[in-house]
Amino acid sequence: MLYREAGQYKVTYGADQAIFPIAQDRFVMLALLAIAFIVVPMVATEYVYRAVLIPTVILALAAIGLNVLMGYCGQVSLGSGAFMGVGAYAAYNLSVHLPFLNPLVSILLSGFVAAGIGILFGIPSLRIKGFYLACATLAAQFFGDWAFLRIKWITNYTPSGSVNAPAIQLFGIDLSSPTAIYVVALGFTLVLGLATKNLVRGHVGRQWMAIRDMDIAAEIIGVRPMYAKLSAFAVSSFLIGVSGAMWAFLYLGSWEPAAFSIDRSFQLMFMVIIGGLGSILGSVLGAIFIVLLPIFLNQALPPLGELVGWKISTATVSHFESMIFGALIVFFLVVEPHGLARLWSIAKEKLRLWPFPH
């Protein structure tokens, strides 16, 4: 009853092609943005920023990047952790060798470096498909692990291999407080996410989806597979690289190569699958789910255990987290293989009728 388009007439093509054509959607989106930018900074504690909000926002951008590659273009990639690392170390090197650049600019430029590397490691996709491609991207992941440890100029010849990020500031305003970092990360994610949403709605995105659905047929009707696949790798690696640089500069502060290991790649892939392949909203929902779940389990399990009189050690909590995480993934895939985004669109469909039955 409330969620109806009746009475909303579009008089320009622009209005017809808007991302949120229904006014109620626009309203809700604006409300969410207001909450995210205004309400949250007023009420959130430092712990919530540092453990929940900032990682979620940064990983949401990475998940959007991976969704571009896996969800929109259909290329399975298990090397996203290494691309985050490329972004992080590129930003670090830019800030060390070009210290006049603002760190935020370095973060953005590092995306281009990551895009270049992404194109390089995307070349096998022209010949290999499916799981074989997944294993080929694992080569990129392990090569990245090794390169960050062994190639000394990447870490500026530090003896231990651990590097530090510079302090974040913009035009002299110090931005190292948790609120400021959160706003910066949210800004990056929002702008780049919006750009990606428009990209996937345009002809490039349609090319990607054509390749995903039936690549031979796509080639026959004139979609150039090399251009489409490599551009998917480039855009995806750009987004993942920027998010990697943000992860290093805004969240970790000081890091070693193990921060971008294969566990990170799997984490991103979980976000994309659970959130929904081929959906920008899905990537964000998936990121929220994957970041919150371990924290929630960590807090909830010991009290629940005490309820049944069982003192659980941290090791057991860790194992239970693993078990519940695995079980939840299987459960989600059984219940809704197209992810949280699909659940959301089903909800919207039902909302259009509510409260009427048909």
Binding site: E46, Y47, R50, A51, D145, W146, L149, R150, P159, S160, G161, S162, N164, Y251, L252, G253, S254, W255, E256, A258, A259, D263, I295, F296, Q299, A300, P303, L304, L307, S313, T314, A315, V317, S318, H319
Partner: protein, 441 residues
């Protein structure tokens, strides 16, 4: 469907309210967090250390009622040796308790590097006893890091001293080949700087052989060692890498008594899996040996026999368990030192930092605490956050560790210039003005 939904909703509400309820905040308690890893590839070494840490704190609470009447609130957080989980645990626990966390002891060089950036802002000291950044010995630059009792440069230097002694003098090192088999991480790479300096000074060839984490497969590394035939192999591993190294050494018939591990590669979990092959393997000691001393009587009386210990019976008295005891002991003594100045109440992180810097563990005090025979006197200062540079060597004879050397002292003629150089570089990079230690009280 409705019933299922209702059940899920109910479970969610119950869990949420349980989290919100939380624990009641006591007012006269000192909060000490424990970053541990009881799972993952490094758990075999992480578990006994964590048990020692927990048992000593429980003993102090049970026997003394806390530190001068202030009970200790202790909570563990599982990091799995992963830096981002360590950071998350840090953020969650740093504000707990009436005065916040007293100190953090992550037992991971990687997490230490990350927390070194955050701790000064949050004003919480980092106790990195026997690990962490080797340059953090310089307390003027690293105000909040305390690598008490030994850093990796000290370890590297003592290892070379022992090898030289075995061969009859430093001049015998010339022309020989010493290999470093290290864990490919900041932890494993720390000693390289010191070893390179010593290889130039004493004229031995220094071979670096990395092992990718976690290091359970080392066949190619040991085939290389078999080919290169170094005269000594220094082992800088952790977790399963240690036991794999000792096993593989046996598989390629490299004499185990020509292997010398750092103090984190010389404990029971590192040699027991290899069985007979581990016989003869040597390792550095962070001063303390395995075995039971005076303090263990109290541990057994107040904790183990009450069933409050998380450790298995055979763990009590093992190398890493004892190290955990010492770790908690120096932390608690630092708090006690701070209380002597600031009053018998829960201390803030800043006050505990002052306590660490003014810690004075004399031989009498160590005997009083029950640690006689485990360690020597320890007196850190503003300029020297390491406190002491003693170490000795023990050897596994198939059943237990036997101390085979006297105490060596780290050679400051080699170590100090390196510390000053690297710490100075860090200070310049981070734009830190080093404190003037002559003016500190």
């Amino acid at each position: 469907m409705t019933l299922r939904k209702a059940a899920l909703l109910a479970a969610a509400i119950v869990s949420a309210s349980l989290i919100a309820a939380g624990a009641a905040q006591a007012q006269n308690e000192q909060f000490i967090p424990g970053l541990v890893y009881r799972t993952g590839a490094y758990a075999p070494n992480g578990v006994p250390f964590a048990d020692g840490v927990a048992d000593y704190i429980n003993m102090i609470n049970a026997r003394d009622g806390g530190i001068n009447g202030v009970k200790i609130l202790f909570e563990e957080c599982e990091t799995g040796y992963a830096t981002d989980r360590g950071v998350e645990c840090y953020e969650r626990l740093k504000g707990k308790g009436p005065t916040g966390a007293a100190y953090f002891s992550p037992l991971s060089t990687g997490i230490t590097f990350a927390l070194t950036e955050k701790a000064p802002g949050d004003k919480i000291p980092l106790l990195t006893m026997g690990y962490g950044r080797a340059d953090s010995r310089d307390g003027a630059v690293f105000t909040w890091n305390f690598p008490l009792m030994g850093t990796y440069w000290t370890a590297a230097n003592v290892a070379i001293q022992h090898i030289a002694k075995e061969w009859g003098g430093f001049d015998k090192l010339k022309g020989k080949k010493i290999a470093l088999l290290y864990h490919d991480s900041p932890y494993g790479k720390e000693p390289i700087a010191a070893l390179e300096i010593m290889s130039k000074k004493y004229g031995f060839e220094f071979l670096q052989i990395p092992v990718p984490a976690p290091g359970s497969e080392q066949k190619s590394q040991w085939l290389q060692i078999r080919q290169a035939r170094p005269d000594y192999v220094l082992l800088w591993g952790w977790g399963v890498m240690n036991s794999a190294a000792v096993s593989e050494a046996g598989n390629v018939n490299y004499p185990r008594d020509k292997m010398l591990g750092v103090w984190w590669s010389g404990a029971e979990p590192d040699v027991l899996p290899a069985g007979d092959k581990a016989k003869g393997y040597k390792a550095l000691m962070l001063q303390h040996p395995a075995g039971k001393f005076a303090v263990h009587k109290d541990i057994e009386k107040y904790v183990v026999s009450q069933g409050k210990s998380l450790a298995k019976p055979e763990e009590v008295g093992q190398v890493l368990y004892n190290r955990g005891l010492i770790n908690s002991m120096v932390g608690i003594e630092a708090i006690r030192t701070a209380q002597a100045k600031f009053g018998n109440k829960p201390m803030t992180g800043e006050q505990v930092r002052w306590g660490f810097e003014h810690l004075d563990l004399t031989a009498d005090r160590i005997k009083q605490l029950g640690f006689e025979g485990m360690m020597g006197p320890l007196k850190p200062s503003c300029a020297d956050h390491e406190g002491t540079r003693l170490s000795r060597v023990h050897q596994w004879d198939g059943k237990e560790w036997k101390v085979i050397s006297d105490y060596y002292t780290g050679d400051d003629s080699i170590l100090l210039p390196l510390v000053e150089q690297v710490a100075g570089k860090y200070a310049a990079e981070k734009k830190i003005t080093p404190r003037d230690c002559s003016k500190e009280s």
